[in-house]
Symmetry: C2
Subunit: 434 residues, 2 copies
């Protein structure tokens, strides 16, 4: 049987998982690839460090160049993480004539065009199933299975750490600060969880999905985003009372383009999702993506968004697709991150239409509600429901749900509300799904 | 741009949907395929009949041979349905050097080996995404996205008609006979719904999935199956009281093989699923598949299982994959329905382990429960819970949930129970998921 020699760069959690599948299940990968996937070299920073897998003699190396310069290695999985050094390594691998598989969404979000151009110039391919939603094969589904469709919208729970933390906040009624500490102890959150919890990770993944599903070219850093790190437990409780569950969602929605207005609306933030709906029920560290498309209608995918073996499952699927040759065909056809002009413009976020949840803390005095309602009316924001709660502090929380309005109008109304004399702090404003 | 000429055989609901996508969205399919998918000919039985789509001059023909003998047509979608004539047509198309796409699961279930051998001999391919679960791309996901995994189990809601009927029975408390009549009026059920409602359709789809996911070679007709046509509303109500929802499931589960016992357990039947779980919540005419695999863990797919455009979405995705060349690579590698020996033997259904729901109708007299409990104990079946309900008829329903036991033991116990003097009819026995 033919043999494809595989290299790994990075042998941390995911790298060890990939090595384990390649070493322990050679029969399986050979059957699926039609050739043996042979783990030839694995480059790590410190070869003396103990590993989660045992490698055959001669596989481990401390020199990335041993992988780059081995002419027999055909495909390499970049699993070192980080951006700057990973970029250099991927460029070197492509220049050396190797196909690349990566799980590195930050790298793609930052340097997609440069890397894909380099791959095209070198006649090689880049596959990246593991970069978004871990074990959920959303990249293959968008680039291949849904090819007869125009995707209309895409709603994703793309960060398992956040979903785990939110579930705890809902189920146990403990604030963010306590849950994040526990998540770090359990290894569900990084020592520095900023990129996960502030929405950066979700925005980077959403940018990749938007590129694939809509042919848009969003800059992830320009996607309006908020995280769960500023989410107040009071709003979780209030949402629950109203029949909602708060999830950190990445949303991409196509709106009609007319006279320069419209296009792809993108947003990332804690969002009220109707309790009992499939997205609201996505548990713990899982990820999920709901896709609405013109021919197929609505598809829902759910699965593990991170973790050693789920991510390794996606990386090895890419190694197999690359060895079989499917990756090359898809890569040539789809022209991702190419110089082709965008197919869908990214819309102005302030035109984005949604319903909103607002919580306003105000002094308990006559006329407050009239002033707030007036500020909303001045921006054309219509109130769908309203609740005022008793409070044992000097201020009372006023909770409003709006009818559909634009992001811009909601934001302007909130600024006006914040400026009202009885209002003691910036209103909390969260999106409501659907 | 290069052009791939496409033929259709059959222009009913799905065929018209495929034609609409090809004709109305040529830019989209060209972008995804890297070449124009050109609808060259569509063969129908009666060209005079009004159609759901307008075709360009010269496309419609009453002669299948016009498609078979057109040397420029590269790929043909067989959408005529039925088995015998469809088999002849597919064989003729392959012999004429055309790749084939089909949505015909009955054809594959009956003649898979013959057709795939013919394709291999002719150097052509067969793609069949639309044959199982309509718009849910479960075929591509099993044959490609999960290739790094050993699938451990697969649980599917594979028949939208049954799921629609069951939802109505649960939500409205109306018996099967009434709902099926309404479903026929609404077009959700065929005039002769037997194949859908008796579990045949689900068994045929499960056999295809078992072949793909486990390398098993089950004969669909040998899969133990029961349908919803014999489901009593009393059991729907009882299940609901116990916290369950009844779904028609196809289940494939790998059990360890030891001393000739074990292998792939397959079953089709109305099954109690814990209410509130994702499978229990699958609505109306949707389909869903839950896959558990050793690397990725659990993946859940949900989407439209039938209907014109969802099915057309799957057919056109196959046409694109075939035109791009991905189908050829997958087809060559996976060796489906080939003479290769099965990778997983199909297990003896009587060894299958499950929990069971039993309803026994018995005369309301002393000692009945002791006799029933004795019959279960004699077969080693242990009772997990028991309920006796008041009744205004001469008999009372006794409802039991068993602990995990084998299908064989449960069936033998039921035979013994049926033979008890106070028991007035064959016990109802349904599986409980998980």
């Amino acid at each position: 049987m033919e043999k494809s020699k595989v290299g790994l760069v990075g042998l941390g959690t995911v790298g060890s998982g990939v090595a384990r599948i390649l070493l322990d299940h050679g029969d399986r990968t050979a059957r699926q690839a039609g050739r043996v996937l042979w783990l030839e070299k694995a480059a790590v920073r410190d070869p003396a460090k103990p590993r989660g897998c045992e490698l055959p003699e001669g596989v481990l190396t401390g020199q990335i160049d041993d992988v780059v310069n081995d002419p027999e290695i055909e495909v390499v999985a970049e699993l070192m993480g980080g951006v700057d050094r990973a970029r250099e390594v991927v460029l070197a691998l492509l220049a050396a004539g190797k196909d690349v598989v990566t799980a590195n969404k930050a790298l793609l979000a930052a340097h997609g065009p440069e890397l894909f151009d380099a791959a095209r110039e070198a006649g090689r391919t880049i596959a990246f199933e593991a970069a978004v939603a871990g074990g959920v094969p959303i990249i293959a589904n968008l680039s291949q299975c849904l090819s007869a469709n125009q995707v209309l919208s895409l709603t994703g729970i793309l960060n398992g750490t956040c979903n785990f933390i939110l579930e705890k906040m809902h189920a146990e009624g403990v604030p963010y600060s306590e849950v994040i500490a526990e998540a770090q102890r359990l290894g569900y959150a990084e020592a520095d969880p900023a990129m996960d919890v502030d929405g950066t990770d979700t925005a980077q993944k959403l940018a990749i999905l938007a590129h694939l599903a809509f042919g848009a070219r969003p800059d992830w850093a320009a996607i309006p985003r908020s995280g769960i790190d500023t989410l107040d437990l009071a709003d979780v409780r209030m949402a629950q009372q109203l029949g909602y569950t708060i999830k950190l969602l990445g949303v991409a929605e196509l709106t009609p383009v007319s006279q320069g207005v419209g296009g792809l609306q993108l947003s990332v933030g804690p969002t009220l999702v109707r309790s009992g709906s499939p997205l609201a029920d996505v548990p713990g560290p899982m990820n999920a993506v709901k896709v609405t498309a013109d021919a197929v209608g609505e598809l829902f995918y759910e699965g593990p968004g991170a973790g050693q073996m789920p991510t390794a499952s996606a990386v090895v699927a890419d190694l197999i697709d690359t060895a079989v040759g499917r990756t090359r065909l898809t890569f040539q056809t789809l022209k991702l991150w190419s110089k082709e002009s965008e197919r869908t413009p990214v819309a102005d976020p302030s035109d984005s239409v949604a319903r909103f949840y607002l919580r306003v803390e105000a002094a308990d005095e006559p006329g407050v509600l009239a002033q707030i309602a007036g500020a909303l009316a001045a921006e054309g924001v219509s109130i769908a429901s309203f609740q005022q709660h008793a409070s044992d502090t000097a201020t009372v929380p006023l909770v409003l749900m709006t009818h559909a309005t634009t992001e811009g109008a909601a934001e302007r109304a909130c600024q006006k509300i914040a400026a009202l004399k009885p209002v003691t702090s910036q209103p909390v404003r969260l999106r409501v799904l659907g």
